[in-house]
């Protein structure tokens, strides 16, 4: 049994409280930490030993922004489940999201502020105090600001949304610096650009997979990790089995079978980087067959002129028959959905390819319709302009650093030293920055370069809010509340920024004592902009109900209407040949890196559950491998476990071979996520980081890292490394373990039956009711019901504090 010392236990107990009550309780307890013994006969009102309390919040393990309900017992978080009221996750969660607990309780967390004691890049720090750190840092910032050198401050964060993003903008604005960058390896920059170009709308649209009958995915591993995997999973399941006699069909086009490819009905490997060409080949067939009758038909015909079946087949390696079949069935089966992401989106022609995919949706009339592409309204709050940094922008920052234009770099919750190719020179450029401050919960590779480490809370200990992206076609805002008292001497990022502002004397500009107050202040605006509702007389009621429900929304969907792309857009349609770093002769294999299911872009590597989660397709744990087509392996005389050097124009790494039955010959694939040099005991010394051999190739339109555009050669080292796998023989041997039915079988149309039955009108199960729950109008009930739904799911009595 866990060994918990009484003091901590009781401190944690102080975090008790239900729903909104928790919030107030927490802020109070933070000011006056409960350190005295709480005699059991008279427990705190909100806290009953042995009884679980649930808090709704938001998952921050990836950028999807799923709603979560965290089960706590005796002041400790015990389990994270999906918030049934949240329209994105609808009660469900992915593996990574559930492992958030292990970020919170990670033994390698930073427990208090640190100052550098050794050389940069090495983990050698001395403890310091917040007081000292704040005093020095605020002093430095204020000096720079007043001296007009504020522009020398750069703030580099991970993907941030909502009011924290606004706060950072405000802060940097006051400093007079425009060096505010969000860097996220997986940020779909090319998708934003392609949507901007084609739709004139840079937001991500909502891909209504649930109601779609035909999903044609160009490389988007939407079930594995792309954009919003949990929501896509719901859509996938329902599209498959919710409609009797009308099972959704999924076609996946990618050089290496992903989780989505494995779940699809059809998996087609096109030459890497030519997926956009294939999309246009399909488009041309649709137009040729008279499937498109728009007024700009001529323009389309002209634009698609170069994509005749033979030319497309020549480039993509996909037979003309297949192209025709795909085109015909896609045009026939309405509503359908074409989506693009993953490798094709991150190639040298990524934006063009995604525009081509968008075009497909337009040609068959799938835009603005249920089961197709639905535009999201602008986010309910948060900054308007995206601060997401492309590789080009990061290189600019590096350049500024080298030129001495960056005096102080604050890095928060992002790990570019791990997530940028070595060839980018970013890590070296850090050496030219006089002062680096890291706001992080973990000593990762980037934090290793910091001079001052201000440990941040995990999301389970912080206040925040979020506007999920992509949304669900209507406006959604979610509030993230602390579910436990901070474990260590750490602070939330927002609180650190506010404290710095206060110490810089910017109290007037930052009148809020802490992040929670800032949120409440900001949400007043959300409240007053929302639909007025007589049942919610004042803001406090509204706020309490939102915090309790964890989510708020406005279920009006943007009107569908006609969508007509600009003439110029149609003219500009076309996908060039992909450009690779490395000549084919010298580097015969296209390297296909992919995000692993548990480790994501590497952030999950310090979570033991994720390290031990067998890779969804190969069953490997704790390692990195390189996947080869059986034929390729034969040619090279390699078999499972043979170590090869993977050499690209940008570098070399070594990894054991894993013969993978579903990858094109000529392509080799490697999972991203391992190969950490720092980042704690669970992450270190496992595998290698394939990002290190990527060339710093960019997609020209966005400057985004074209991570699928590096070629490599394989040099057997003669070494052997046994891959640790949980799976044995991967063939069924006629034992009929997974049995197969014909297409005609009736659907088992039971959607989330248990939740639906339990809640008896509980929100969040179906999209529509989820929307209603999320809508501000009946938020108090929604909140209560959300809690009840959860409670009933687990049948744990819940104490509801009525504020």
């Amino acid at each position: 049994m866990p060994n918990v010392d009484r003091r901590n236990f009781l401190k944690l107990v102080g975090a008790g409280g239900v729903g909104a009550g928790a919030g107030f309780m927490l802020s109070e307890s933070r000011k006056h930490p409960v350190e005295h013994l709480v005699p059991y006969p008279v427990p705190p009102e909100e806290f009953s030993p042995g009884i679980a309390t649930w808090y709704n919040s938001v998952c921050s393990m990836c950028s999807a922004g799923c709603g979560i309900s965290v089960r706590t017992r005796e002041g400790r978080a015990k389990k994270i489940e999906g918030n049934p009221a949240h329209p994105v996750s609808q009660g469900r969660l992915c593996a990574l999201g559930q492992s958030g607990l292990q970020a919170l309780y990670n033994p390698d967390r930073i427990t208090g502020p640190l100052v550098r004691a050794g050389r940069r890049g090495e983990i050698e720090f001395d403890p310091t105090t917040w007081e000292e750190s704040f005093a020095e840092l605020a002093n430095q910032l204020e000096l720079m600001r007043t001296a007009g050198r504020g522009g020398g401050v750069a703030l580099l964060t991970g993907g941030v949304r909502g009011h924290l993003a606004s706060l950072l903008e405000l802060f940097m604005g006051w400093l007079g610096s425009d060096q505010l960058l969000h860097y996220d390896f997986n940020h779909p920059a090319t998708l934003y650009a392609a949507n901007e170009r084609f739709f004139g709308e840079s937001n991500l649209p909502y891909y209504d997979i649930e109601n779609s009958r035909y999903v044609l995915s160009f490389g988007a591993d939407f079930i594995g990790h792309w954009l919003s995997p949990v929501h896509h999973g719901l859509g996938f399941g329902r599209s498959r089995q919710a409609r009797d006699g009308d099972r959704g069909r999924f076609v996946q086009i990618e050089p290496r079978m992903s989780l989505t490819g494995a779940a699809a009905d059809e998996w087609i490997a096109a030459n890497p980087g030519t997926e956009g060409v294939l999309a246009l080949g399909i488009a041309r067939r649709i137009v040729d067959q008279g499937g498109y009758q728009g007024t700009d038909l001529d323009a389309w015909q002209a634009a698609l002129d170069g994509y005749a079946p033979d030319a497309v087949a020549e480039q993509t390696g996909v037979l003309p028959d297949t192209v025709a079949r795909l085109a015909d069935s896609f045009a026939e089966t309405q509503p359908g959905l074409a989506i693009g992401g993953g490798a094709p989106a991150n190639h040298s022609n990524g934006v063009d390819a995604l525009v081509a995919v968008n075009a497909l949706n337009h040609l068959v009339g799938n835009i603005g319709v249920e089961g197709g592409v639905i535009f999201n309204p602008p986010p309910a709050f948060g900054p308007e302009a995206s601060r997401h940094a492309s590789l080009a922008r990061m290189l600019e920052l590096a350049e500024d650093a080298r030129a001495g234009r960056i005096e102080l770099l604050i890095v928060s919750n992002t790990n570019p030293v791990f997530n940028l190719p070595e060839a980018s020179g970013f890590a070296e450029a850090l050496a030219d920055i006089p002062q680096i401050v890291s706001l992080s919960s973990f000593l990762d590779e980037t934090t290793a370069h910091a001079d001052l480490v201000l440990p941040s809370n995990t999301y389970l200990e912080s206040w925040g809010d979020d506007t999920p992206s992509p949304g669900v076609g209507f406006r959604v805002g979610a509030v993230s509340q602390p579910v436990v008292e901070p474990l260590y001497d750490t602070r939330a990022t927002g609180d650190i920024v506010l404290e710095l502002a206060h110490r810089m004397g910017l109290d007037l500009a930052f009148p809020w004592p802490n992040m929670e107050e800032y949120l409440k202040y900001s949400w007043r605006e959300v409240w007053s902009n929302g639909t007025p509702d007589p049942s919610i007389p004042d803001f406090d009621t509204f706020w309490t109900s939102v915090v309790r429900a964890g989510v708020w929304g406005d279920e009006t969907r943007a009107p569908g209407g006609e969508f007509v792309p600009d003439a110029g857009v149609v003219e500009g349609i076309g996908v060039g040949a992909p450009e690779f770093a490395g000549a084919e002769g010298e580097f015969p294999y296209a390297l296909h890196p992919y995000l692993s299911n548990g480790l994501h872009d590497g952030r999950g590597a310090n979570l033991p559950w994720m390290q031990e989660l067998p890779d969804a397709l190969t069953g490997v744990v704790y390692g990195t491998w390189i996947e080869l087509n059986p034929e390729t392996a034969d040619e090279l005389g390699l078999s499972d476990g043979d170590v090869v050097a993977i050499e690209s124009p940008a570098g070399a790494i070594e990894a054991p071979v894993l013969v993978y039955p579903a990858i094109m010959p000529g392509v080799v694939a490697m999972p991203i996520g391992q190969g950490h040099e720092e980042y704690g005991r669970y992450a270190e010394e496992h595998g290698v980081n394939p990002i290190n051999v990527l060339a710093a190739e960019t997609e020209p339109a966005t400057g985004a890292l074209a991570w699928a555009a590096t070629r490599v050669r394989l040099v057997p080292t003669g070494g052997r490394a046994d891959l640790v796998r949980v799976s044995g023989e991967a063939r069924e041997l006629g034992r009929e373990i997974v049995q197969i039915a014909d297409a005609g079988t009736p659907a088992a149309a039971v959607n989330a039956p248990a939740v639906a039955a339990a809640g008896a009108g509980a929100p969040g199960v179906r999209l529509a009711s989820g929307a209603r729950a999320a809508a501000g109008i009946d938020a108090p009930t929604a909140g209560a019901e959300a809690a009840t739904a959860n409670t009933r799911l687990n049948s744990i009595p819940i104490t509801v504090v009525n504020t």
Binding site: N3, L93, A95, P107, R240, R247, A262, P614, Y622, L793
Partner: protein
Amino acid sequence: MSLIDDFLARWHEYRRPGYYEEFDYHWTMTVDLDRCTGCEACVTACQAENNTPIVGEDAIARGRHMQWMRIERYWEGEYPDVKLRAIPMFCQHCDAAPCETVCPVSATYHNQDGLNAQIYNRCIGTRSCAVYCPYEVRYFNYNNHHWDEPLDQQLNPDVSVREKGVMEKCTFCIQRIRQAKDAAKDDGRRRVQDGEVQPACVQTCPTEALVFGDRKDPDSAVSQMLGNERAYTVLEELNTDPSVVYLKKVDADAA
């Protein structure tokens, strides 16, 4: 004579398979393979809920992983016509469970709800149940497990942490079933209603591939699933009569 009669009566009772002729509840899970993507969210959910340990790389290399829920992967065909068939595999709660007959101390037995129960503190660790289980879903504690502090704080207080020498496996999240039954009792109701209890894996499955409920309730979601013509049980020929029923994966291109 009454002694003998008594003995015979007891013997008769004893000889009944699974002890219970009729269950109070008949908990059943269905797995729709046409929905399941093999995403493994259920694997982590189970690990989080049931305090299954982190065993480490070496232990996994030695074949000692402990996750009660696992996804089995079977490939079919050769490139390019290759398909992956994934199937969640966990205790099937067989009504004619081979694991139960072999346990010399009845540490694993069939309970009144049709569950294959595992009593950790009765288990002496012969591992025979794991040999007898054809689904390979029993996991043995080859050593004591350790959670680096403060990871131990995430342990579910409703589930015991197993010690070395003890067998463990999926329990259908019996702690949740218990709580649901207690709550139903406290409410003055007689039975747990459909949907009031969801095991952790079912709760989280993003594709809603898993459905759990009482088969004795003809209106329950799970009963409806059982009526689907795709329903089958794995290794049916062994007559273990599992309480986990799979729904066949659909091959859209099959005739």
